[in-house]
Amino acid sequence: MPARSLGSWLLLATLAGCQGNITGTAGGDAPPLSNGAAGGSSGMPPGSGFDTKSECERLGTGLNPGPSPLRRLTREEYDNTVAELASDASKPGKDFPPEARALGFNNIADAQTVTTLLAEAYQTAAEGIAERATKNASTLLGCSESDSACIDGFIQRFGARAYRRPLAADEAQRLRTVYDWGKTNTTALDGVRMVMEVLLQSPDFLYRPELGADEAAPGVLHLSSYEMATRLSYLFRGSMPDQILLDEAAADRLKTADQVRNQAERLLADPRARDTFKSFHRQWLDLEQVANLDRDPALYEGYTDAIPGLLQQETEAFIDHVVFEDGGKLKTLLTAPYTFANDALATFYGLAAPAGDAFARVMTDATQRKGLLTQGSLLALQSKPQQTSPVHRGKFVRESLLCQFLPPPPANLVITPPELNASLTTRQRFGQHSADPTCSGCHEQMDPLGLGFEHFDAVGRWRATENDLPIDATGKLVRSDVDGDFDGAAALADKLAGSEQVADCMMKEWARFSFGRSETVDDACTLEHTKEKFAAADHDIKQLVLALTQTDAFLYRKAVAP
């Protein structure tokens, strides 16, 4: 592993050095993670750091696409795809088994395993989609289901959209044989259904196979234009290629970086891109978990079962607005002096309320509340039912924004969290962590960071006092490129907004989400170039994603012998 130097990319990606006095090793340089790689071939532990700049120099000027594992459609992608392919808006994916979240995301190829239960679910979904589609056979076919030419045309037309490329002759023939069985043994219409069932369960539909096209460099292939249409489409639309992409692919015009960029820009301007960004942020920040919040209204006046849903909507509306309506800067995400609320949520927060149920932009007192980190969703998610949790809030910032990991408490340590005490503040109760050397080695990474949020209670509301004692929200950030003391969450947000490390972290998360895999040393230039472009664009998140489409990892794939 290369030597680390301060300020290099992912420098602090592993923070295993904080065991402190627990294990007797003093804090210091991070040792390698003990648990190895993200499965598959990458050979790099996820989150382990390497210096992208020096590694990129070492790689030189050749093309280095990294691995391109076979990706399967996520539940969400499946639903979006069948909605366009078969006009079926029933979202069959909701009945699929839960999917693996690896590296925080549900689209990581190495974690996408298939079991009998999933294969059965695909079968059931395909039967349902075919059944519903053939209820209106004349629209689907445009001719008679008993007519041979009609069926061949349908197989070509529907098959090409299902496979996102034209069908080969033998593929069409296999489907025709299936139809013929149905026509003979059940009905012609059932034969049509069977053809659809085969297509919808075939790997060319459920997966995104890439064989590559012509050689771009020794051992490195261009993608075919159809394959590139699919990459672009699932990144920006979360669904099958639209007609423009299919037309460009048919004309073989998705080969050069410029051609790819032009389409990426078009797709980014399409409203569907907003859903992809929503999906990314939902997973990155674990926003789905907000719905599971459970708080006692007796402890938190004004809290109702509707609040968790509103908190999630707030954050999603805010992010959408920042990215697509307000310049899209990472800095804005972290420090915008506004949020989104409807009447009920604003009342809950004690903010000036917009009228009605619709969410609207609401200005905040920026000395108290600014940016993503001061929103109720994240503040409540990183709390306990009856109290805030400085530990979890600190850990969240460490892991999700700084891309650093913390080691566990030692395996057989009996952990006694401080008990609730009506005459102390949370800060006072957690004093032991900094006083006890067994704890402080790690907790100095979390608690002083998380205590900066103490002005927000366990449902994310501002509080000036706790148990009638004044809140002290001073904190301290260590082991980052913006170390230092701060007072309150707004000041912390300002600090993080100026951090290269936070920007690098976001870049890395987007790279994983976009490529469906963990980064490898082969990706050093892909990451380094993206990082430079992200910085040059003043950390505009949309420019970050566009930059990712211009990388070796996105434009090429390694030649793999069958």
Binding site: A38, N185, V198
Partner: protein, 454 residues
């Protein structure tokens, strides 16, 4: 209730009403010397294996029985099992140390596999990462042998095991890195088990042919694509293709025989929100009813119920209305907090009551010269011995039924940290089903069947 007599079921399957004696119906393979075949008791009843999982450790001081091996006295947590004393084997002190992952990951993945964890991308509570276990789980090894004749090879059920798949909420594996997801919805499980329960023979035969035609073509498409891909992608598709082949292979297997008690259960309102905390007990009961009927109708012989998951945060207000915190959260508290210790005791006591309900259901179904419970091995396991220490030494297990293999009515206590191998226990389960394996899991961790069990 949709009740089908054994005779109807036989007609439904083969098209001909048969009047075979019970044992023949159950498909007992013939042996020259009248010996029990793998998967069958000496009297010819099918053996069954059930895993029952509850998470986050227990409170050992309230769990471990007092007294000796056969004159033991039930502890507070295990008290509801007293009526089944003669059908229980309580095992205290098996050590599952394992390798890889955080305590929960290690416990969860090693519990049924006796294997190390492979590298992977799942974040543990320790911030490190780990993947799936490096081998098949005990239930799936057993299903390979005794699950070949039933509609489902095995049935994995889960009660609010979480919305995403990770190595905290999967315990069964088909092999290295092949986790099996539990079905969280009793209504979907019902569809899987009972939807073709009453099909007419001709319609059923044609439907099978049709499905085979579709799946054959799908399989051909898999193979055609595989021929063009590199080794790693080919392997990815292989697992998928295997699953399709298994579905195809079971198309002909219908409930061909069953006990008189066999009937499609009535589930009630399908609008029950299965992921809502307050519905946790209701979902669990439906799963237990489904599992019992799946066994009674011989739709499967291997099953599991996973309650919540490792690191599960269900708020068990039904165990005590004063509980307001999640289970995992509380399980980290120290032993000196009386409130938490009491709550955790009550949670585990509640789980015992559910376990007793399952035993009662199984014991109420006559089979051969005993009950279905007698012919079944049920193992109550937990990924941790103790929640706050994440210890996996001295695990606290209950085995019920026995399938005519184990000597029941006893409490086995192994000495503290005596490195009594967990893998030995897993091997004992495999052997209890009549399978002649001599090791299980990571070979270095298995020295033979667990002593004192038979």
């Amino acid at each position: 209730m949709k009740r089908l007599s054994r005779r109807t079921m036989l007609r439904g399957a083969g098209g001909v009403a048969l009047g075979l004696p019970f044992l023949e119906i159950m498909g007992r393979p013939k042996t020259a010397l009248g010996q029990a075949m793998p998967g069958y008791t000496a009297s010819g009843a099918p053996k069954r294996f059930i895993v029952w999982f509850t998470p986050n450790g227990t409170i050992p001081s309230a769990w471990t029985p007092t007294g000796g091996e056969s004159d033991f006295e039930f502890s507070r947590i295990l008290k509801p099992l007293e009526p089944y004393r003669k059908k229980l084997l309580i095992i205290d002190g098996v050590d599952q140390t394992g390798e890889g992952g955080d305590g929960h990951q290690n416990g969860m993945q090693g519990m049924l596999t006796g294997q190390t964890l492979n590298p992977g991308a799942f974040k543990g509570g320790d911030g490190g990462t780990a993947g799936w276990a490096n081998g098949i789980s005990v239930d799936q090894r057993i299903a390979q042998v005794i699950g070949t004749q039933t509609k489902l090879k095995s049935l994995e059920l889960g009660v609010q095991t979480g919305g995403n798949e990770d190595n905290w909420n999967r315990m069964s594996l088909l092999g290295p890195d092949q986790p099996l997801p539990p079905e969280n919805s009793p209504f979907k499980a019902y569809e899987r088990l009972f939807k073709d329960f009453a099909a007419t023979p001709d319609a059923a035969a044609k439907a099978i042919e049709r499905d085979k035609t579709v799946l054959n073509a799908v399989s051909d498409n898999f193979r055609a694509l595989q021929a063009k891909l590199g080794a790693e992608d080919k392997a990815r598709l292989d697992k998928h293709l295997q699953a399709i082949t298994e579905i195809e292979g079971r198309l002909g297997l219908k409930p061909k025989a069953a006990l008189d008690s066999c009937a499609a259960p009535v589930l009630g309102s399908s609008t029950l929100a299965v992921t809502k905390n307050e519905n946790f007990p209701a979902v669990g009961k439906l799963h237990m009813d489904l599992l019992v009927m799946a066994l009674a109708c011989d739709l499967t012989r291997v099953g599991s119920i996973m309650w919540n998951r490792s690191v599960g945060g269900a708020t068990h207000t039904w165990a005590d209305p004063t509980i307001v915190r999640g289970h995992h959260d509380m399980s980290h508290d120290g032993d000196t907090l009386p409130d938490t210790v009491e709550w955790l005791t009550k949670i585990n006591l509640w789980y015992t009551e559910q376990f007793a309900y399952l035993l009662k259901s199984l014991d109420s179904i006559p089979e051969g010269d005993g009950t279905m419970l007698d012919n079944t091995v049920i193992w109550w396991c937990n990924e941790l011995a103790k929640g706050n220490s994440h210890s996996r030494n001295d695990s606290h297990y209950v085995v019920a039924g026995g399938a005519g293999h184990f000597r029941m009515g006893r409490c086995l206590k192994f000495p503290y940290k005596d490195t009594v191998r967990h893998n030995n226990l897993l091997l004992s389960f495999v052997q209890a089903m009549g399978i002649e394996d001599t090791t299980f899991g990571k070979p270095e961790w298995c020295t033979g069947p667990l002593s004192g069990m038979v």
